[in-house]
């Protein structure tokens, strides 16, 4: 069971060229806003039409420009969820969910399925309410019930949590995650939040400028995002362009320091996560001054400026637990950047 997407569509500003496959798993499309990830989802759903290419779901061709196949969304059997949930405002919760069951069920069986779906998501007692009378979390449960009661072959979720307050978001994430596990088939999750993706997805595709830059198992991609965009999207904030030095080391141009690392061919930038900077002596030891100390709720970020670097150089962020900073606090700090923690990047 799988989804194959290989499409092209001209958009204002750039051309979407998406090519990827997904099995019975949750694949996250991680990208900045406007990178084309939502458009890709809409193309799979059939509410937007690619210029060319093909989309195949479990062996069924949904779209193929060469064979002139373009199934209407009504026949694709996809479940689509938007960040605003798109509940029909003039219909009650019950009527909304019943809309999802119209395709394949009739009469008593339909009413029974609707009841079950409402109860499965704990919104049975809200059946007579209008969507506008519900909280964000309740709306999302209704949207889940409406989407799943139709027994779709795939779920497409477009930023499903971005309309929720952060305290609700965490809980709904778990509920949606449970629903996805019970669903057991392919799920495409569009998101710009690395935390959300990390907690929910099995695989991740880094999308930038309308292309998949890197796709792979979640942990592999986070450990080695491969490109600058991927590095930023997976939450790495220290990035520097590099150029090779004669002694085999590389020069980190933005940071103004030399680094020793086994350079991969093609890499033209490096990154290091703020958690991965290590205190004390080691490979790539840097004597630094704390240019700025930023206090977060549960951690401290120290902006390090290597003593040897020119004044124009970019600082390197170092994030640590609060007690560690309390013990350390000093004007001048010695840290090192372990080569295995340094991400090598292209583009």
């Amino acid at each position: 069971m799988s989804l194959i997407v290989d499409i092209e569509k001209k958009l204002s500003g750039f051309t979407l060229r998406m090519s990827f496959e997904a099995g019975d798993e949750t694949l996250a499309l991680l990208g900045a806003s406007g990178c084309g990830k939502s458009m890709t989802l809409r193309c799979v759903a059939g509410v937007e039409r690619p210029d060319r290419g093909r989309i195949v779901l479990n062996g069924r061709t949904l779209f193929d420009s060469e064979k002139r196949v373009n199934l209407p969304p009504q026949q694709r059997r996809v479940g689509l969820m938007f960040q605003n949930y798109a509940l029909f405002p003039q219909m009650t919760v019950y009527q909304n969910v019943r809309c999802g069951a119209r395709r394949h069920l009739k009469g008593a069986a339909r009413e029974e399925a609707v009841r079950q779906a409402l109860d499965a998501f704990g919104v049975g007692s809200l059946a007579g309410r209008l969507p506008g009378q519900l909280s964000g979390g309740q709306q999302q449960r209704v949207a889940l019930a409406r989407m799943l009661v139709g027994e779709p072959d795939i779920l497409l979720m477009d930023e499903p949590f971005s309309a929720l307050d952060s305290h609700l978001r965490f809980r709904m994430e778990q509920e949606v995650h449970d629903a996805i596990r019970r669903f057991g088939k392919t799920v495409l999750l569009v998101s710009h939040s690395r935390d959300e993706v990390y907690r929910m997805a099995d695989s991740v595709a880094i999308v930038n400028n309308g292309r998949v830059e890197r796709i792979g198992a979640l942990k592999d991609v986070f450990a080695d995002p491969g490109t600058r965009a991927g590095c930023v999207l997976t939450g790495c904030k220290n990035i520097s362009a590099i150029s090779p030095l004669e002694n085999g080391q590389v020069w980190a141009e933005d940071w103004g320091v030399p680094l020793a690392l086994p350079l991969r061919p093609g890499a033209d930038a490096v990154g290091i996560r703020m958690h991965d900077v290590r205190p004390g002596q080691g490979p790539n030891t840097l004597r630094c001054r704390a240019a700025e100390v930023i206090e977060n709720p549960f951690s401290v970020t120290v902006m390090l400026r290597p003593v040897e670097a020119p004044a124009s150089a970019a600082p390197i962020g170092w994030e640590m637990e609060k007690p560690m900073w309390q013990a350390l606090q000093a004007e001048e700090l010695t840290v090192h950047l372990p080569p295995e923690a340094i991400l090598q990047l292209k583009g």
Binding site: V47, F82, R103, L130
Partner: protein, 223 residues
Amino acid sequence: MDLYPLWNSLRIAGVSTVIIFFAGIFAAYYIAKAPRLVKGVLDVFLTLPLVLPPTVVGFLLLRVLGPRRVIGAFFLEHFNLRLTMTWWSAIFATTVVIFPLMYRTCRGAFEGFDATLSASAQTLGLSNTYIFWRIRMPYCRPGILAGTVLAFARALGEYGATSMIAGYTPGRTATISTTVYQLWRTNDDGLAFRWVLVNVAISFVVLLAVNLLERREKRAGRR
């Protein structure tokens, strides 16, 4: 007081409102979806009667519907039917003049429609007809209602184009607005004033209805 002008005004406004109800929705729905260039051109063309003086609309209508003009001559010759100077001639005038009001408000309503609703509905397997009548129309109902009522009110008060194409014949083509003008011209201010009051009363009720509708819809939408 002969109430014929009241009855005549109401039926003219009523018939033209029914016509533009469907024509306005139809035009708005398709133009809202049209490509940009087509949209721009059609929009200007369809909105023109809103800004043209009614006498200009009347003049243009006479140029096509008059007994010696293209369409007018055709009907006179084949059906022995004069398109001007009858009570229903005024319907041509009011329909053209109020069409932009309906079209504009409906288009605004359709463009304000949340496209994710129809996208979701389609993926749920709902037919496009079902989506139009059960999701899009209810969503756009406040705008459509407001447009209809406004159009009716405007049709009721149409004077310029109506007087040119239907004239003023007491008991035949007289409407409230043409009657007021005629009475004033013949120094019958007393009777003219009574018709003015009738007109103000009707308009007052109509606008009140619009406001009440809008308030109710807003309350229903917010919750």
